[in-house]
Amino acid sequence: MRYYALIPFLPLLGFLINIIFGRGLLKHRAHWISVPVVGLSMVLGLMTVREVISGNVINEDLYSWVISGDFKVSVGFLIDQLTAVMLVVVTVVSFLVHVYSIGYMHGDPGFYRFFAYLNLFTFSMLMLIMSNNFLQLYFGWEAVGLCSYLLIGYWYQKKSASDAGKKAFIVNRFGDFGFGLGVILIFLTFGTLHYAPVFGSVSSIAGKTVVLFGYEIDLITLIALLLFCGAIGKSAQIPLHVWLPDAMEGPTPVSALIHAATMVTAGVFMVARCNPIFNLSEIALTVVAVTGAVTALFAATIGLVQNDIKRIIAYSTISQLGYMFLACGVGAYGAGIFHLYTHAFFKALLFLGAGSVMHAMAGELDIWKMGGLKNKMRITYVTMLLASLSISGIPGFAGFFSKDEILYQTYLKGDLGKVLWLMGTVTALLTAFYSFRIISVAFHGRFRGSHPEEHHLHESPPVMTIPLVLLAIGAVAAGWVGIPPLIGEAIGLHGAWFYEFLSPVVGHPSEEGSHSVELMVMTLSIIAGIAGIILAFYLYRGDAERAKALLKRPFLKKIHTVLWNKYYVDEFYHLIVVRPALWTARTVIEAVTDIGIIEAIVNGVPKTIGRFSERLRAIQTGLVNHYAIFMVGAMFFILAFILMVK
């Protein structure tokens, strides 16, 4: 029984049913279809994971769509340990978000459309992670992107939402272009697109070079970097991170599912999946690690000063994704995937919690308009608190184990590793700080909104809080499958089970460290986390007078301004990309259009064909004789041609 094939196709079925019957038959009952299919797909997914844990790895082509010579397009599934981890993440979070959305999207005019897109997204994401070849990966890659744009611009009547959708689309084009080139290059190099033969023969092309623009470039490095281009775009790393904060224009469940737990982690997954390629290129790995570390620190600093609750969490996501890439870059793919896995729970929880708050606050996003929510929204508060503790790396919570492992492995990676480790530890402090800034400002103190607003405050319905509770359990406990051996020994548990589980796919990190180093790293990261929390509570207690007082100092004020404006990256892009593009569009194209060149090309070609077509139509006079004349004429020319040429 190949029941695993149902895992992606059930959501697809849900999508089809919704899109066909949604408008007429289902309307506000769309979730009757959507939620069960994803639930079933989760159950099957978990069953498959159990199979994998017991040692069965599946790799087969279900069927081939087109075969022509070397070129083969097939739908095939590879379900190994890495896929299993992703299956858990995608199906569980997706199911919980689906359930949550029933409450959150209640009464929205596009209810069925929303669920249809969510189903489609789940399908695409599952196709992406379960693929056994690059083409299907690419298909899933583009399809999740498509769903992402559709859902960011879900409230398309809002200009900011449709603009954000466009921005995500355009920014991702840059990355996907590179990714597409990478896939093509793989096909040209290996003659196949299936993982197994590509990864099997990848070592044979080590050291091969290609000449590009006169430079000799290592082929493997080129492939790896092109693939990584795609990861940068999809996972919102520097310099293509600008779309993710804007993507928060989409409905909050979408932010939780797509822009925190699953789609944006596709880049990390892809790098881990392609580890045989990346491992052969020191340059590519270094690029990955540095990009990750810089992004982590950079995004965390921006997150410090934002006021929009979803934007803070969005920058936090970018930062945490940076951690994952950092791990991959130092060869600790297991740690990266582990962080991906724990992050999915606590980050989805943070977003859903924020959604719950928005639900109570009638869509308000500014944390300064909130305050004292903890008394009105018990469950939301407690779950948010647990998620924040987890992301801050407090021992015992999921985030601690994964983050600690990343920092430890980074520290071991030579001199550059030490620098990156320092950046990572500072980021840990900042992470704790901005996370608890939200808790402190939004949930503690007194309510800063108007009286009717305060009256309106209420805890969300159970359909929303139950997913919160379930995710909170994950945020606390999900990490216990990957306890560091150091702690494991101390409490008598088998440590590092997760890494051993993944090692058939991603191998072990190359460096071995000592217990004392591990203990030092761990202690420092715990200190950083706790320090961040204390600092946040200290500065933002009450009405945050201390924080306001700090901002009076000119130097800090300047820094704040820079951070508030996100290092002016958007402005910078506006200056170097958008403005020139618009300028070109306005002046050059207009000028040329006046001359008529562009018009000749853009409008002219269809118009010429159209005119040609009209002209040709005149030949068709409706007179039988004329038709025969054309036939005879053609015969004359053909015969003349044949006889003369002979």
């Binding site: 007179l623 004349i629 005879v632 004359f636 015969l639 003349a640 006889l643």
Partner: protein, 168 residues
């Protein structure tokens, strides 16, 4: 003698053909066609194909031309005599057809019969053409012969469907 005979038949056939396509009055054309068919039949006789000659006269002249005459009865001959003979752009047709004719003629300048079969003239003479033809037809061309019968059936059905008046 045979040259004269062939020359007469050729000239007559060609002349009648031209006559057919240039007459204003369609009835004249049909009559021209009748004569032409008879001449073609004579040509078949000349080629030792008596049976075909008979068929030519009976089917073409006897059946097909009568159909044409029926159809022409519907036309208003008086009006017909006053309208244009050719389509407006008949000039276009001349070079095209002449070009093709020249090309074909160039290709067909020196044709010869390629193969020799079993049915030589003596054989046909002893057998008589009709008998030889019939033997050949029912021995080797049974399937096409049957298909022809279906074609004729279709023609009958089709002609009735198209031409009958609406039943109310």
């Amino acid at each position: 003698m045979q040259y004269i005979f062939f020359a007469y038949l050729s000239v007559a056939i060609i002349g009648l053909s031209i006559f057919i396509i240039t007459r204003k009055n369609p009835v004249h054309s049909v009559l021209g066609m009748l004569f032409m068919f008879i001449h073609v039949g004579a040509l078949y006789l000349f080629l030792n194909a008596e049976f075909l000659a008979a068929v030519q006269v009976i089917v073409y002249a006897g059946a097909i031309l009568v159909l044409f005459l029926f159809a022409i009865m519907i036309l208003n001959i008086k009006e017909e005599l006053q309208t244009e003979l050719f389509i407006g752009s008949w000039v276009m047709a001349i070079p095209v057809v002449m070009g093709l004719l020249i090309m074909l003629f160039l290709g067909l300048r020196a044709v010869k019969a390629g193969y020799t079969g079993l049915h030589n003239i003596d054989y046909i003479k002893t057998m008589t053409h009709t008998k030889a033809f019939g033997k050949e037809l029912f021995a080797n061309y049974l399937l096409p012969f049957e298909v022809i019968s279906v074609i004729l059936l279709v023609a009958i059905v089709g002609a009735i469907v198209l031409a009958k008046r609406r039943l109310r």
